[in-house]
Symmetry: C2
Subunit: 383 residues, 2 copies
């Protein structure tokens, strides 16, 4: 069910003393092969953490032997010392596993602008290596949590091969990857080019369309590692669909655990002239604070949907916009539609459908409501 | 001090029964000339309310005799009936004042997607006309309030001439005009081209740089009416500076009254390669929910500033970014700077300075913190 669901992988998750609360904060995932093909996608934020700089380099040759992830500190905006600490982490891991340093990817998550307690981290690595096991995925998924309230794992199994994965992320969830760390593993036998294509195809439609709070992280990383241990090479379409399924499941888990959220909002934009238009409109709605407050208050305030659509460059005629909330078309032809009193918003799941009446393309995005709990969580301590 | 500070203008503000709470909800401002030159700027939202469509047409010939503003309903997304109601308002006003219908500008503010009680509005116009007076500016400024907690007025007087104004706006405050209605009046003798240039120059640097919650309204309108009653024609530079001063003052009042806000945040971006870059960076920071929560919690979380900067296309090197919060350079060269414990955030006013180290251009934007009170105000009832 987790990052060790596929054959050829072991993992561990331990408390290394990086988090002040003593919780698990260091995860290691090791690919025991025979193949070490890998692909990765990273945050499009131009301010990037040291581990992102490092892991981009590691992924350049499409090969990863191990991934080390720490919570308790993002190691972002930490200058040359931050790079040094990331390198030391990779080097120590490589020594312990007897692999090349350049095949060790690093991810960090936590507060920006604070140096990691690197001594404790390096000591922790030794402990983590002792605990590596094919049952270690669950511990690993706990060790990468920050403000997450639950660990997030997923897996799918097809004929002879499996994809497993874990994710973390609850705030600073936005596009160009929702803010998150994700490690996916598979025992399928595929080269890194195929992994890269499947991963990009999947993230484009899943993690890239999760926009919880419009804030983009400095540390986003999604990795896909293939051990080849199944000795099965699936068809591309089948493999890509499975990767997307796992990404979709993990993305939904991220939204459901978003900081302070009380409503999960699915925004479906149809009738768009292009998919880009549909995504732009969906994202504009997902980021509208006033609408997100209204949804929190179970108020089907479609005027706020229209005012959000109106800020985009998408093709549409304002007099041909239609909006449904939970299936009730409260806005027709840009004006008042069905009675808003008919909208039942008591469920946690809310579905907003926008018909731009401008074409045949569509997209789905996910967000959540804006609540006082989000404000509390993000104002009461640094994160 | 108000919209009737300049000679040649009368105003009134009455309760016409549009607002359910019985408060003042209908304002009229009349220009008695001798000149009726006018200029206007409107929301850049592509979904525009009926009164915006109408008033754009009215302003086309640079002439306005009267402005009617109602609160209690935005008359946006109201279809043909909405247009009809706006036209009826202009027509009735024109009849009562014996002016051309096409010289009556209309503004509306309130909930989107609800038809106005136009009968009550038209009846109210008669009452309002009876109450028009040179002392009516104060009442008018109260009649345009929605979630505003205080009326907002301003004026400046130069040698022989005056500019006065009023504004409303507390939520849905964002760019391409902060969400607001503003009426400015002057007794200076200037033609509409000069008014237009002065108004655009001023709004670009004031209202356009107020970004309270990133949400853009369907009804934004800023009007400048000149009566020429002073018979003084000031130099352009002097007049433009005075218009900007009034707009700046009203813009600051909008920010100070923003829904739920406990901190007024000034964001100064310096060292930019272009003014556009500075504005893009400032706006990105102003819209970062996580940062706005941190400021609410008096947490000088500069990492969230950097992650916001990183989402822009502005020219900068991440390793040369500097950030000061209330004068303490907590981030230097993209990394840890002065001790964040030195930052005193107890005052309501917070100043964030970003040095992009990429040029000599700069810009200042204003926003406020994100609070539980904002969520409550925008989730507990439709607005």
């Amino acid at each position: 069910m987790s990052v060790t669901a596929a054959r050829g992988f072991t993992a561990a998750g331990i408390a290394a003393g990086i988090k002040e609360n003593g919780g698990k904060d260091l995860a290691v995932v090791v690919n025991h092969g025979p193949s070490h093909a890998a692909a990765g996608v990273f945050t499009s934020n131009r301010v990037q953490a040291a581990p992102v700089h490092w892991s981009r380099q590691v992924l350049a040759d499409g090969k990863v032997r191990a991934v080390v992830i720490n919570s308790g500190g993002a190691n972002a905006c930490t200058g040359p010392k931050g790079i040094e600490d990331t390198y030391a982490t990779a080097e120590t891991t490589a020594g312990l596993l007897d692999v090349d340093t350049e095949d060790v990817a690093i991810c960090s998550t936590g507060l920006i602008g604070v140096l990691l307690p690197v001594g404790r981290l390096l000591t922790g690595l030794e402990t983590a290596m002792d605990r590596l096991s094919a049952a270690g995925g669950e511990d690993a998924s706990r060790a990468i949590m920050t403000t997450d309230s639950v660990p997030k794992t997923s897996s799918v199994t097809r004929e002879g091969w499996t994809i497993g994965g874990m994710a973390k992320g609850a705030g600073m969830l936005a596009p160009g990857l929702a803010t998150m760390l994700v490690v996916l593993t598979t025992d399928a036998a595929l080269d890194s080019d195929v992994l890269d294509k499947a991963l990009r195809d999947a993230t484009r439609l899943t993690f890239d369309r999760v926009d919880s709070d419009g804030c983009m992280s400095t540390n986003d990383t999604v990795l896909l590692l293939a051990s080849g241990a199944s000795e099965v090479t699936p068809e591309y379409a089948e493999f890509a669909a499975a990767v997307r399924e796992v990404c979709d499941d993990l993305g939904q888990q991220l939204i459901r655990d978003a900081e302070g959220a009380s409503k999960d909002i699915e925004i479906e934009v149809v009738g768009a002239a292009s998919e880009d238009d549909a995504v732009e409109v969906g994202r504009s709605i997902a980021r509208n604070n006033l609408l997100k407050c209204a949804i929190h208050g179970e108020d089907p305030n479609w005027g706020r949907v229209l005012s959000a659509i109106g800020t985009t460059k998408a093709a549409f005629d304002p007099n041909q916009l239609n909006v449904a909330i939970n299936g009730v078309w409260v806005c027709k032809n840009g004006g008042v539609g069905e009675d808003r009193e008919l909208v039942d918003m008591t469920d946690r799941a809310v579905r907003i459908t926008v018909d731009l009446s401008a074409g045949t393309q569509s997209a789905i995005l996910w967000t959540n409501d804006l609540t006082a709990a989000y404000v509390h969580e993000n104002s009461e301590y640094s994160s």
